[in-house]
């Protein structure tokens, strides 16, 4: 990785390596990731897949995207991630970034739950939440939300 490339997140409480034992939903082969700073440091991070170098996902904390975000994660999922304390978990949403016109959307329906202690993660579907996979974060016409 050259000096211009992404840097590993240091000292921010984020795991560098994250393993999704079941992969992502519909993309079960994407299991091993590393969480990095994006090229411009900030709240948007880069979740780079180690199983497929072409797969890198921009992610951000769900509560930054929507401050009243609510989710219920099944006990079984938390147990499978070895969660002792919910505060150890990160809740990240993947972002889709389109340009001309700029439109950034977040997947609030299928967040990524990551246990910072064990480095284990799972993607869950929030059935019945009413959340969408294309929540608008930034759009050129509408400005920020």
């Amino acid at each position: 990785m050259d000096e211009q490339g992404p840097r590993a997140v240091q000292g921010s409480g984020l795991p560098q390596q994250v393993t999704f034992p079941a992969g992502l939903i519909g993309c079960e082969e994407w299991q091993h990731f590393v969480l990095l700073e994006a090229e411009e440091a900030g709240p948007v991070k880069l979740l780079q897949c180690l199983d497929d170098p072409d797969v890198g996902l921009y992610v951000a904390d769900a509560y930054l995207i929507k401050d009243d975000y609510q989710l219920e994660v099944p006990e079984e999922v938390l147990r499978s991630l070895g969660v002792q304390d919910w505060r150890d978990c990160l809740v990240l949403c993947t972002l889709t970034v389109r340009e001309n016109p700029l439109l950034v959307t977040a997947n609030l329906l299928g967040p990524l739950i990551i246990n910072r202690v064990t480095g284990l993660g799972a993607q869950v579907v929030l059935s019945g939440s009413g959340y969408d996979t294309r929540y608008v974060v930034v759009s050129e016409e509408g400005g920020e939300r």
Binding site: I25, G26, G42, C49, L57, L64, D67, R98, V137
Partner: protein, 85 residues
């Protein structure tokens, strides 16, 4: 695929722990009642499909396909981060 015909009020048992009841039939809509252990995830398949599509879309618009992240994005979420502190 196993195909069964059931009537209203009948049910199907899958394994030891899962039972699916036909609770209502109205035109093209079928109302199911599902008894299953808590650890069994039950989700409408179209929701899984939407999440799968979102994952592929995110990967297609991710860093492998672009040079830079729009600066406004880090600024917008960064401003919220400051407010939250």
């Amino acid at each position: 695929m196993l195909i069964l015909t059931r009537r209203l009020g009948e049910s199907v048992v899958i394994g030891d722990a899962i039972r699916i009841h036909i609770l209502g039939v109205e035109g093209e809509r079928v109302k199911l009642g599902i008894e299953a252990p808590r650890e069994v995830t039950i989700v409408r398949s179209e929701l899984l499909e939407r999440v799968r599509e979102a994952n592929l879309e995110a990967a297609q618009t991710g860093p492998a396909k672009r040079r830079t992240l729009p600066p406004v994005l880090q600024r917008t979420l960064g401003a919220k981060e400051q407010v939250g502190k």
